[in-house]
């Protein structure tokens, strides 16, 4: 599994793990993120059970198990958090931040030592080392209980499935050509996102944030002006489309 640094200032760092060359091709490629501030780390959307071994090996190159204070699961999907039962064997005194509505569902993945810290619908802030992270509501884009993570200092928004693309696992970490990237995102957003109203509210909410990097859970990461391009494109896109015959 490859790793790249998205941000590094003093002891504050964002890493992205993904593009695993050994991954089974039938498993969707995912981006996992780890934020570290001082001696504390949080893993965002730690991934599915099939990627656990590669993730654990990669994470230990940059931190220790004792320093992993929390996991974050944007929603309940298996590619997001089905590895929970295995992380639960490794982490002591850690929390899982996830939408309150999914607690009784996510516990099916197995969880005895990690503490579930439910995120209320309106979101909340947490302290990690010396930084504050905000859980930004993103309900119904796509999951009915769903959050993004915003780091005001690093100006990074981890946008979960929003901005996701079904791309080749050898694709570059960053989107290089927005127009060429659209076909890789369009079907996913039309089919997985159920509500135009929720989408519009999310776009309005995110436009108020100062963002330099928008980091989705699948496919390329957006940087600089491409974030505006994405928001404009997504705002215009008619979502919640599927054939129901």
């Amino acid at each position: 599994m490859k790793a790249i640094s998205l941000y590094q200032k003093d002891k504050h760092r964002w890493l992205c793990f993904g593009r695993d060359p050994d991954k089974d091709e039938k498993i969707i490629d995912t981006n996992q993120y780890m934020i570290t501030s001082g001696s504390q780390s949080i893993i965002l959307d730690p991934g599915g059970i099939e990627l656990f071994s590669q993730m654990l090996t990669s994470v230990l190159r940059y931190t220790t198990l004792d320093n992993i204070k929390a996991l974050f699961a944007s929603h309940q999907d298996p590619d997001i958090i089905s590895s929970l039962g295995l992380w639960d064997q490794c982490l002591k005194n850690s929390k899982l931040y996830s939408p309150w509505i999914w607690e009784s569902f996510i516990r099916h993945f197995g969880m005895s030592s990690i503490e579930y810290d439910p995120i209320p619908d309106e979101g909340k802030e947490i302290q990690l080392g010396n930084i504050t992270l905000q859980f930004i509501p993103a309900h119904y884009v796509h999951s009915s209980g769903n959050f993004n993570v915003y780091d005001k200092e690093a100006k990074i928004l981890m946008s979960g499935d929003i901005g996701a693309a079904l791309d080749d696992s050898a694709a570059p970490f960053f989107v290089e050509d927005f127009d060429a990237h659209i076909p890789k995102m369009e079907y996913f957003h039309r089919r997985w996102m159920p509500s135009n109203k929720a989408k519009e509210e999310w776009v309005k909410r995110v436009r108020r944030l100062d963002i330099e990097i928008m980091a989705p859970q699948h496919g390329g990461i957006f940087k600089g002006e491409m974030i505006g391009q994405f928001l404009d494109w997504f705002e215009r896109l008619d979502v919640g489309i599927a054939t129901n015959k």
Partner: protein, 203 residues
């Protein structure tokens, strides 16, 4: 001592080994740059540092050796972590199956017999794979550690060669010797840490 290693403990230990080797690999990459710089320095120093030129080839070889060892240990470790996490899932399944078995009425347990047979055979196979892969990992680590002993010899020889060179280059050549010695020690320390992570596991 338990008959078999605890699966969760195994995947954590082996992931630690891979991370130590990753750190060793970064140092070996630095060593490779040192070797290239040293070669350029030896050329500038001319005939008085001719012996140094030969040493730089040896340093490059050591660096390659460590990078290759790190890469192969990493491959073994990732496959090992995967086997251990599969074993953890199988062990979890067996303990759930035991609960089902306990609650079944007489005669119903025949239903579970073929499942037990399959899953126990999978468990045994995974345990065998883990032990064999652990042995391979330990051997590879020990072998690399042995080969790296040469770094200290290289460092000493480098100092001797530096003393023969023109005095304008002696400090720089001595600095190369220091870097080789320090890289060797740091790589060794990561290999030892890696080895300690495996010490309690049964091979």
């Amino acid at each position: 001592m338990a008959q078999n290693n605890d699966a969760a403990d195994t995947f954590i230990s082996v992931a630690h080994v891979a991370s130590e080797l990753f750190k060793a690999q970064s140092i070996a990459e630095e060593l490779s740059i040192t070797s290239k710089n040293a070669r350029a320095l030896a050329v500038r120093a001319g005939s008085t540092a001719a012996g140094f030129n030969e040493i730089t080839r040896f340093i490059e070889g050591l660096s390659k050796l460590t990078i290759e060892a790190a890469s192969s240990v990493n491959t073994i470790a990732i496959s090992q972590t995967k086997i251990a996490s599969d074993l953890f899932r199988v062990q979890g399944f067996i303990s759930r199956l035991d609960q089902v078995n306990y609650n079944l009425e007489d005669g119903q347990d025949n239903e579970l017999a073929p499942i037990y047979a399959t899953v126990n055979s999978t468990r045994k196979s995974l345990e065998r794979q883990i032990r064999s892969s652990l042995r391979e990992l330990v051997d590879r680590l020990d072998e690399t550690k042995m080969e790296l002993r040469a770094t200290q010899v290289v460092s000493v020889v480098s100092r001797v060669e530096a003393s023969r060179a023109h005095e304008d280059f002696q400090n720089s050549l001595n600095s190369v010797a220091d870097k080789v010695s320090s890289a060797g020690q740091r790589i060794n320390s990561h290999l030892e840490k890696a080895r300690r992570h495996l010490a309690h596991l049964r091979t």
